[in-house]
Amino acid sequence: MGLQEQYRKEAAELLSSGEVKLVIGYGEGTTADRRRPVFVRSAELVSRLVLDASGVANLSAYLVPEGLLSDGKKVAVFLKPDGVRSINILAAEAQLDPGQVVILGFDIEGGQPTPLPGRKASDYAPLIESLKGSGLSPELQAEADRLEQMGAAERFEYWKEQFSKCIKCYACRQVCPMCYCRRCIVDVNQPQWINTSSHTLGNFEWNIIRAFHLAGRCVACGGCDRSCPVNIPLRLINHRMAKEALDTFGHYAGESADQKPVLATFRQDDPETFIL
Amino acid sequence: MIYNPFPMRVISKREEAPGVRTLKIEFIKQEDHEFFKAHYKTGMFGLYGIYGEGESTFCVASPETRTDYIECTFRQSGRVTTTLANVDAGDIVTFRGPYGNRFPIEEFEGKNLLFIAGGIALPPTRSVIWSCLDQREKYGKVTIVYGARTVADLVYKHELEEWKQRDDVDLVLTVDPGGETPDWQDHVGFVPSVLEKVAPSPDNTIAVLCGPPIMIKFTLTALEKLGFTAENVYTTLENRMKCGVGKCGRCNVGSTYICKEGPVFTAAEVQQMPQHDL
């Protein structure tokens, strides 16, 4: 029995036993290579669930907005390790109770989905530990290295061109499990910190501040990058922040549900070589 | 061009209630004033603004019979209204308008008028009230039912006093239970129940009703009980607006653009709209 069948069966059991009220998974998309999030509420409909190597989206983003978990009932979600890390962060930041999330875990190896046995976020601690410090894909790493080699002025020009494309559709924010603020800083207008206009300056401010707000929280699911309709390589900037958190503070986002957020804690001997 | 507002000078500012102020503003340029005088009819709205903060939509609270100035009454709540609340006489603000449709007050001639307002919704009603009172001879009996949460929240207190003194106006004031002061002489109770108690006759009567959605809902039921038909009840709607001229795409309720086809509707028209879009 393939993994898809196995998880369909498990989803059906979870639903019919009443353990979960909803299963969030992947379904057929508009084209053969696309998968779309599907919401299954009854055991009869589990055949809508599809699991293959195209299921890459981090579905944990659906748990917090519009109060999905506010009734205290459980929800089952198809998650890769990055999604499990998101659950840990959301739990650490008191946005959800990880006990309400049943994880149908999988990973993609060699173009095939492989099962991960853990059903609770805490089951994943050893796996997450082993992933610590895993980097970007070779192509993205090459692009990141190319950027690091540049001088500041050249790098500025690079991002200026990239950000000039931004249309402030906020797909990056909306798709991100970590962007759950009821009122985003860009929507705060007293004072209006970030220019809402999507000229290059406003785009610069927006993208820099969003990257900062994700520092040490991003799990590198790549959702922002994939959803950006104008193809800004947002993953590079978020990965750079994650690297800083790991290298300087030993912080790997989403290790556990009681991990302190990196910027909400400190050590007295944190490095400060740059401070005059 | 289309989004360029008229510069206006603040003549005076009046505190109406906690957080509620009235600005009286005048046109700086003669041609702008002429345009306003030629186009303004009671019920229309405008976008009041201040450079650096933006624009905010409220009704013109002054009547069409008094067009030397514009009065607007607003509650201080957002970015624009907070700044507008802090202007002083002589300061420059902006006005864009008048936009929207009007109360057909010619059609009200010869009829009795019943005005019902709740809280901060007296300003649009007051524009019609004065437009009719300034031509008092054209209309029959005039009854005004006005309620607010507390005595302090009643706006236009000096005008309420004036209407109270007049023999040709019947003023009924009420405050919500618990909102009365020890020396409060008028009604205590919600507008719909007070309305039923006062029981104005629906014969040959037009009702103008403005207030928060929940009050509108219950007052309409009360009016129906009293025998008013929805075609004879007028109200104004409000929604968030940015352009005021039917372009920016947010103020519609169902297919009806409040800015172009409103803000004045009969209750019958409002009942035709999808209620969950209000």
Binding site: T30, I167, S197, S198 | Y3, K242, D277
Partner: protein, 337 residues
Amino acid sequence: MTRILLNSRLDECLGAWRSAGFSVFAPVKRAELTRFDEVQKAAEMSLDIVMPERTIKDHFFLQTEPLIKYTITKQQIDTEEMVPPERKRVFFGVRPCDASGLDIDDPLFGWDYKDDYWFKRRDNSVIVTIACAKADDFCMCTSVGLAPDTAKGSDLMLHPLKDGRGWLVVPHTDRGKALLEPVAGMLQEEAAETAPVPSIPAKFDLERVTAWLASPESFESPLWREVSQRCIGCGSCTFLCPTCHCFDIQDEGDTYSGIRRKNWDSCSFAMFTMHTSGHNPRNTQSTRWRQRIMHKFNYYRGKFGVNSCSGCGRCTRQCPVDMGITETLQEISNLPK
């Protein structure tokens, strides 16, 4: 006999249009994105694609348009209205769906109050479309009553030749005819066969859809919640749409000077209709999605007699969660009678 423009003479044409005072815009791929930008040479253009990611709407209804510049001093407020430049422009290689989008939006921007920011640009631009030679799974112009070679909104239309040497040239408006004058010598008279337009099967029954949307039961239908469950509430479908026209007006600057701007806004955003009081008439994503569909295929149609959709399919093609108008309309079309 028909008139032909050969690929090899396109550069000459561009030169002639520039000499006649036009700036030429065409799809250009830069920094991983194809959008319309000014070009000097044909080699800069990306014409061999289904469609650019961004529409030409961007050049008529700017994503951020300065309206009024203001300077505040103790004594007075100075304002300067920022009028759009009346620059003569040729848009070359426009897709028929994008061109139709402009045509669809004209009545809205002219509805009683004329929006000159739109019309000053419209009046000074010539739209040269190229009939589609290819389509993808997302294209749906045929489902909304248009076609891959529809002339709506085109001043001049080029039909690709079967042998790939160039295009058959067909003017559709006086503006299009006038644009041919400076390049008359570069065209040749020849009977040539045009490449077939791709066949795009209809994805839904538009008449059923619009009839249902206009019916009283549609507004409260549970369908809205079902089709929009996965919507994340970003604005990419609206911002990439050739007909979406909603905007916000914002003052940007500091206490002493700044600019009032007209910025794109989206009905998908929760803040779009939020009152200051906190009341929000469209407070869930499903009500916002309903507004988007209703606006395009019911309200707009009722006001201006045309659907506010030209079938480009970008809303689905670029949706982060593979949603879009097509699927919803298919669901509506498939409702039991």
